[in-house]
Structures are given as C-alpha cells and as structure tokens.
Symmetry: C2
Subunit: 211 residues, 2 copies
C-alpha cells in the first residue's frame, strides 16, 4: 500500500485551513474549494478526508473548541502555578475576549456556529464545546472557593455572579469584534465587577494588570 498518511493529522490541517479562511471571509462564505486552496491541497482531498461539507464544518467546530480550550489552559498555566482565585477568574475572562487575531477568529466563528445552530438542528445536536454550562460551573466553583477562603464577598451568590461575569465577557467580546468597544473598556468593566466580588486583601494590585 502507498504512503500511509496520518488521517487525523491531515484532517486537523484541513480544519485549520477552514478556520483561517472562515475567519477572513465569514463562515457562511466558505466553500470547499476555498478550504482546499487555503490548505494547499486539491478539492478531491478535502472530499476524501471529509466526505461532505457538513462533516467538515462539524469537525471544524470541534477543532476550534479544542484549540480554544488548549489556549485557555496555556493562559492559566502562564499565570503561574496555583494562582489565586481572582487571578484565575481574571485569566479565564480575559482569555475569552477577542484581543488578538486568534481570539478574534475564535469569537467570530464560535458566534457564527452558535447562530447557525439556532436554525440548523443537525448543528444544534453537535457537542458545542462541552459547554452546556461547563464554563459556568467552573467559574461558580472558583467563586465559591474564593468565598470559602475569605477572599470574596460571602454574601454574593456564586452561581449568579459566575453567569453574570461570563455573560458580560461574551457580550462585550462581540462588541469588541464589531468595533463598538475597545478591549481596554471591556477589561475595565470586568475589573470593576471583580473588585466588587473579591474583597481582596493583598490582591489589590490591578490596573497595570496581567495581560
């Protein structure tokens, strides 16, 4: 038999091409020929590894969320070993804002998929990240731990605040994406709420902050 190529790696490579071209032209405007050209392969190859466009799109979503998860993990790791709850929460929120090309593309495409899923049941059935509310649970858990450690307002409802923070980050991310707001303004708003929730004793060095 011939070259015996790693299919999974090839698929990943094509998926990255999909993400790049979709980030440029918009997910709706991407065709198999565009993906093939971007990946430097022939149209037939794209068909070979993903039989149908639908499967390519699904795989693209999966790849997108995987890459984003990895990126957030790296950001957390870069915040040092065992950072405080506030630093962790802040890192999570800031990582989800579209501040550079990669996160801009992620935000754009994730939003595109989400909007698509409203009218496309096949896409809605797809595992959209593990995120029915994984991020929400993680964030709520962090806030509760902070409360337990006396670092956050014990009166606050952790789950409600978690939902609020994530919602604000998401919506302001979109504002940034469409050029309605600057990343700095969004970060300032998030800091405001972190200051409100975290009754920080020694963790009040914010302003010339991390990222």
């Amino acid at each position: 038999m011939p070259k015996r190529v790693d299919h999974e790696e090839r698929r990943a490579q094509i998926a990255e091409a999909l993400i790049r071209v979709a980030g440029r032209q918009g997910l709706h405007a991407v065709g198999m020929r565009d993906v093939a050209a971007e990946a430097g392969v022939s149209l037939r190859l794209v068909q070979y590894y993903f039989e149908t466009k639908e499967k390519l799109l699904f795989y693209g979503l999966q790849h997108l969320t995987d890459r984003f998860t990895a990126r957030v993990g790296a950001r957390l790791a870069a915040a040092g070993p065992d950072p405080g709850p506030r630093a962790t929460v802040e890192a999570l929120l800031l990582a989800s804002l579209p501040t550079d090309d990669e996160s801009r593309t992620f935000h754009l495409l994730y939003s595109s998929y989400a909007i698509l899923s409203v009218t496309d049941e096949a896409l809605a059935a797809q595992p959209f990240i593990d995120n029915p509310d994984a991020a929400e649970n993680a964030m709520a858990g962090l806030l509760e731990r902070a409360q337990g450690a006396g670092l956050a307002d014990p009166e606050a409802d952790a789950r409600t605040e978690a939902i609020s923070l994530l919602a604000m980050a998401a919506a302001m991310g979109t504002s940034i994406l469409v050029g309605q707001r600057s990343p700095e303004a969004a970060i300032a708003v998030l800091h405001h709420h972190l200051d409100r929730i975290f009754t920080a004793p020694g963790t009040s060095e914010r302003g010339a902050g991390a990222n």
Copy 2:
C-alpha cells in the same frame, strides 16, 4: 399610468416576508425566491422594489430595527405614564430578551446581521440601529437620574453599570436563543443586579414582577 402603488408600503411588506422566512431558515439560507414566495408575490416584484439582494438585506435590517424600536416604545408606554427609573430600566432590559416569537426572531436576525458585518464591510457601514451606543447612553442617563433622585446607589458608576446590564441582557438573550438557559433564569440574574444598583425604598415589590 397604471395602478400607482405605494412603493414604501410594498417594500415594507416584502421586508416583513424576508424577516419571517429568515427567522425560520436563518438569514444565510434566504433567497430572493423564498422572500417572493413568502410575500405572495413574484420573484420579479422583489427585484422591482429592491434591485439587488444586498439592498433587500439592508432594507430588512432597517425594517427590523424600526420594528424593534417601536416594540420597545410600546412596552415602555405599557408600563404606565412616567414609571420610576427602575421600572423603565427593567422594561428596557426585559424587552430585549427573546421571550416570544417576535423577539426571538429579532434577536436571531440582529445577531446574524452583526456577525455578518464583521466580514462584510458594506454591511458594517450600514446604520446598524442608531446604536453605536444609543442604548448605552439612554441606560446610563436613566441610572444617573435614579442616583440624582436617591433611588440608586450613589457610589455606582452609571456608565459602567449601564454597559454591564446591557451586556448581560444581550449575552443571556443569546443563551436563551440557543436553548442553554430559560428566560426566567436570565430575568432572575438581571433582577439581582437591579436590586444591587437600585437602593429601592418603596420599589421592593419584585418577584411577581411586570412581564
């Protein structure tokens, strides 16, 4: 000359057809033939009143925002003459949540247009509502008035809180749209923050609230 028909009315009627079919199939999947069929007219007619699909889409966005503005105005009027600042703010926020078919369609299509505008400069140049930050200014103004009247926490930064409230409403609206959260849960979170901001003296009847 022949029938002398009201072009503007005809355009509005076709635009509503566009909105209906786009709400069903998604904005990306709508074609001129679909719009014509939905409006009960011939394809040629759609071409006659909007020469190009792009113009149809632009007009559709305009019509969508007009209808939404009117709807919000009606909601405010329904809240009685000169309601308190909190009731006004609450009405504005709740009106923007996708709780019924009309608001669901609005939220879906507005989000679709917004995402589209990221990669389509012609659409980005369009007056996307009057909303670079009209809603934000209005909301901030309301909060400031409430502070002046001693109804809201005077320590709070009105603009920051306005941005926060609108952002949460927007993001949770999307969560509702994709079926990730119930309208009730979203409303509860919003109420939580209204309770935090408004130091309501007699306005503490919330829970079996307005809408």
